[in-house]
């Protein structure tokens, strides 16, 4: 197993603890306002200091990471499922159905993500649910396209012919040969997209279209901190570092996962 | 005809240094080529025949350790500076490969590719280069109106002809052909081999051909070198070889090719990662004796033949 893979797994495990066991880690309520201790630096009581309203930055960061990662997980999983259903239907049925579904996909591919999200926020109002919806609408088509491509390639592989010749029915070849050849590229792709989606959420929240205060969110926190940049730099340094950490850990895992799943590269890694 | 030795390879040792150990792909190989001679190296996959050919033009990966002397026109090219060597490669030694499409630029018209190769080696005007390229096209029997074709518009045989034309662009003295016809149809193979013989006659150059196909060897070779597990087991003139090969491996190989439905060589080709105490062919050899297990065979020169076997008695 590669070194990168181990590093990636450890980083993701650490992240998972922050995301799913946040309330247990955070020492304070993230929304507990205490104006008497506002804009404090690192102290023993508040290990990452406090923000402009005297809230504990560490607790807020723990909750904020949870919000961002959870939203991106939902976006990625939901669009992956929609994309998988759409793409595999198109590829398996082929012909006119394929043609029709592909045109729908083309339409969705043409949506400009940022502008569309801004429009959704404008119409439905900015909220966590609405950006999740907007991001799903703009991203599922990419998965559909990818799944379709993978299925079409896998369907033409001679090992499918070989299995058919041995008496396998379509169901067997799809389950045993086609789908495994789709799942692996799809899941590495999804890992890559988690980081990507997370950046989008952070960006949208930063410009005020995403998660609304007082719910802690990394992008929103950086946005709030910009007025205190010179007096309290820890307010944007810590969230910034955390964003880098999350994105980096997903990317490193995605890379090594691809190597790990390919038996050809796997045996080289073992050398 | 000038029968001087064009290429002389002596005690060529090639080792690949890998993370899991050294791989010996060539052990003490000696052979030489005269002008106008076709020398065929024949052997099964993984015997190191392509590596030996690539080492002559320094196309081996970085982890290859080359030891020994390679004399080309009397100059030891194994120890030349890269800059000096570049003048020989392409201009005096040209190479053609099994897959033409991997060696010709897919987005450049074939005529231009031949002309560019010429211009890269000799300073001349574009017009002059084009004339040369047209001449080469004619030599490899491609219609002149193909000058402006792209490689994908040509069939496999024609692509192979283009690669030969590019190789010929600078009138090389030595042509290295690595499995030039393996992926072609029999009818096309027949014509390409004929073409190679014709240009050899015309330029009085030497051809070093790498192949695993005994029939191609029979058709082309003047001299044959049989390789097995990094060792040159036998070198002999074509007629003498096909009458009676001396090395047990060469004998078995010829038997298998003659009658594949009734004859096999037991065992499998050895892994070059292992180092052999004795003769590498010993485990599969039906004439092996005790001494074969412990002693490495050395070249026995018998007139024009060289055999690397402990059980062959020099006469």
């Amino acid at each position: 197993m590669g070194k990168n893979f181990k590093i990636g797994v450890i980083m993701i495990l650490f992240l998972a603890i922050i995301v799913f066991a946040g309330p247990l880690i955070a020492p304070y309520d993230p929304n507990d306002v205490n104006m008497s201790i506002r804009l404090q630096g690192v102290t023993s009581a508040h290990i990452m200091g406090t923000d402009q309203l005297g809230r504990d930055l560490f607790s807020r960061l723990v909750y904020a990471t949870g919000t961002s990662v959870k939203i991106s997980l939902v976006v990625v999983i939901v669009s992956m499922v929609i994309g998988f259903v759409f793409g595999s239907t198109a590829a398996f049925l082929g012909g006119a159905v394929d043609e029709f579904l592909m045109r729908i996909i083309d339409v969705f591919m043409a949506f400009p993500t940022k502008i569309f999200t801004i429009a959704i926020a404008g119409i439905l109002g900015a909220s966590a649910f609405n950006i999740t919806l907007a991001l799903i609408i703009t991203s599922w088509a990419v998965y559909a396209r990818m799944v379709r491509g993978c299925v079409l390639t896998a369907k033409e592989m001679p090992f499918i012919d070989a299995a058919t010749a041995l008496g396998a029915n379509r169901f067997y070849t799809i389950i045993k040969h086609v789908l495994p050849s789709v799942f692996q590229p799809l899941s590495t792709f999804a890992f890559q997209r988690i980081a990507h989606t997370m950046m989008a959420i952070v960006g949208l929240s930063f410009i005020g279209l995403g998660v609304q205060p007082p719910t802690p969110e990394l992008g929103a926190m950086i946005s709030e901190s910009k007025n205190f940049m010179s007096t309290a730099p820890h307010l944007f340094i810590f969230p910034g570092l955390l964003i880098s950490y999350v994105v980096f850990s997903f990317n490193i895992l995605d890379d090594s996962l691809r190597d790990y799943w390919d038996p050809r590269i796997k045996s080289e890694l073992a050398l | 005809m000038n029968k001087e030795k064009l290429l002389e390879v002596e005690k060529l040792n090639i080792k690949f240094l890998t993370s899991i150990g050294d791989v010996n792909v060539s052990e003490n190989i000696n052979f030489h080529l005269k002008r106008g001679e076709i020398f065929c190296i024949v052997g099964e996959s993984g015997c190191g025949k392509s590596v030996v050919a690539l080492s002559l033009t320094r196309l081996l990966p970085e982890n290859a350790m080359i030891n020994g002397s390679i004399k080309f026109e009397g100059v030891d090219i194994a120890n030349l500076e890269d800059k000096e060597f570049a003048k020989i490669r392409g201009r005096k030694i040209a190479t053609i490969f099994e897959q033409p499409m991997s060696c010709i630029n897919p987005v450049m018209r074939i005529g231009n590719q031949i002309a560019e190769t010429y211009r890269a080696n000799f300073k001349c005007s574009k017009k002059e280069a084009k004339e040369q390229a047209l001449k080469k096209l004619k030599e490899v029997k491609l219609p002149i109106n193909r000058y402006n074709s792209y490689p994908h518009e040509l069939s496999g045989g024609m692509q192979q002809r283009v690669m030969i034309a590019i190789a010929l662009a600078c009138n090389p003295q030595l042509l290295i052909a690595d499995e030039p016809t393996t992926s072609l149809d029999v009818t096309v193979q027949y014509q390409i081999l004929e073409l190679l013989q014709e240009i050899k006659e015309k330029y009085n150059m030497a051809i070093l051909m790498i192949t695993h196909d005994m029939a191609v060897v029979h058709d082309m070779a003047d001299t044959i070198g049989v390789m097995y597990a990094g060792n040159m087991m036998e070198i002999a003139a074509r007629d003498a070889f096909f009458q009676q090969p001396l090395h047990p491996y060469a004998q078995e190989l010829l038997n298998v090719v003659k009658d594949p439905c009734n004859y096999t060589i037991p065992g499998t080709v050895p892994n070059l990662m292992e180092s052999f105490l004795g003769c590498p062919f010993e485990p599969r050899c039906n004439k092996s004796t005790e001494i074969c297990k412990t002693k490495k065979p050395e070249d026995i020169v018998m007139g024009k033949r060289i055999v690397r076997c402990l059980n062959v008695v020099p006469n």
């Binding site: 592989m157 001679p158 090992f159 012919d161 070989a162 299995a163 058919t164 010749a165 041995l166 008496g167 396998a168 029915n169 067997y172 040969h177 495994p180 038996p263 050809r264 045996s267 | 099964e44 996959s45 993984g46 069939s155 496999g156 045989g157 024609m158 149809d185 029999v186 009818t187 096309v188 193979q189 027949y190 014509q191 081999l193 004929e194 013989q197 014709e198 006659e201 695993h212 196909d213 005994m214 029939a215 191609v216 029979h218 058709d219 074509r238 096909f242 190989l253 010829l254 298998v256 090719v257 003659k258 009658d259 594949p260 439905c261 009734n262 004859y263 096999t264 060589i265 499998t268 080709v269």
Partner: protein
């Protein structure tokens, strides 16, 4: 007469995808081909690349359905069988592909690949294991390969693994499509001998598809020479090779490089032109642009297979 496989007037037509929606061009890969194979008999199909020989092989084992014509196995037409009947029949008809590597799923281990035929056909584990042991013995592969992936074993071993899979369900008919083309002579010999053994011991019917005429001449009893989708000459292998009649057969046999006898002399040219492109079929006799005996009628009219002499010899040529 009971034929194992009887193919009548097989035709396969493709739509060329590279042409636009408005200009759909059809390519006839296999054109009106008939063929019979008996038990314990091996029949060769030879021709240059692109002549449709692989497609014909696929139709014979029922992997592709013919556009026209029929394939009968023991008198039953396989294109008319229901799905379940066909499923039962599949193991009887096996292809061996040229490119063994791509017929082995790279994500399966050798063990899983060997078990697959038994899993698909729901054969109990203990019976399967016993059969796998026999097979491994038969194709000379050791158990040490069990947990390796296909790319971790050599080309010859992969080809033998493919063979073991094809033989695992005890077929009576095999189409071997260049089964040894990319292999070394000594490995090639092992594969050929295995096929011959199967043929004589188990009464296997074999169709051997290849462009290597030397091996076809040794492996088969009857041979069909194919050019651009149709047979141009068929007959007993010995007769065809000793006395080729069709100009294309003569050319093919002339291009075979021997390993005994004299060296070829330059200038005695017997071979002309390149393999044809199925997209641009010549009118009349498809071979006429390369033929040195071409006359006016060859350019206009398509020759039919005609019986020549006493034996089962058929030739499609105007000039005989």
């Amino acid at each position: 007469m009971s034929c194992l496989i009887e193919a009548v007037n097989l035709t396969k037509v493709f739509k060329d995808k590279h042409f636009s929606v408005f200009n759909k061009k059809e390519i006839t890969a296999v054109d009106n081909v008939s063929l019979t194979v008996n038990s314990s008999e091996s029949v060769g199909i030879v021709g240059e690349s692109g002549c449709g020989k692989s497609m014909l092989g696929k139709m014979l084992v029922g992997l592709t359905l013919p556009t026209k014509g029929s394939v009968c196995y023991n008198g039953r037409e396989i294109s008319k069988l229901t799905f379940n009947e066909m499923k039962k029949l599949r193991p009887r008809l096996q292809p061996i592909f040229q490119d063994a590597d791509s017929t082995l799923n790279p994500k399966f281990t050798v063990k899983k690949l060997l078990e697959e035929p038994f899993v698909i056909n729901k054969i109990p584990k203990d019976e399967a294991n016993q059969r796998i042991d026999e097979l491994l013995n038969y194709v000379n592969l050791g158990k040490e390969f069990y947990n390796r992936y296909p790319h971790e074993i050599s080309g010859g071993q992969r080809q033998r693994l493919g063979l073991a899979r094809a033989l695992s369900l005890k077929p009576d008919f095999i189409v071997a499509d260049e089964p040894a083309a990319s292999l070394d002579s000594s490995v090639q010999a092992q594969i050929l001998q295995l096929l011959n053994q199967m043929k004589s011991n188990n009464g296997l019917g074999l169709v051997y598809v290849s462009h290597n005429l030397r091996i076809v001449s040794m492996m088969t009893q009857r041979v069909n020479v194919m050019y651009l989708g149709s047979f141009v000459e068929t007959g007993d292998t010995k007769d065809v090779f000793e006395n080729p009649i069709h100009p294309y057969t003569k050319m093919l046999i002339g291009s075979v490089l021997t390993i005994d006898g004299e060296k070829r002399k330059l200038g005695t040219k017997k071979v002309f032109g390149e393999p044809p492109d199925p997209k641009n079929r010549a009118t009349g006799c498809a071979f006429h642009p390369r033929c040195d005996q071409c006359t006016q009628i060859c350019k206009e009219e398509r020759p039919e297979l005609k019986k020549v002499g006493e034996k089962n010899r058929f030739v499609a040529c105007h000039n005989i």
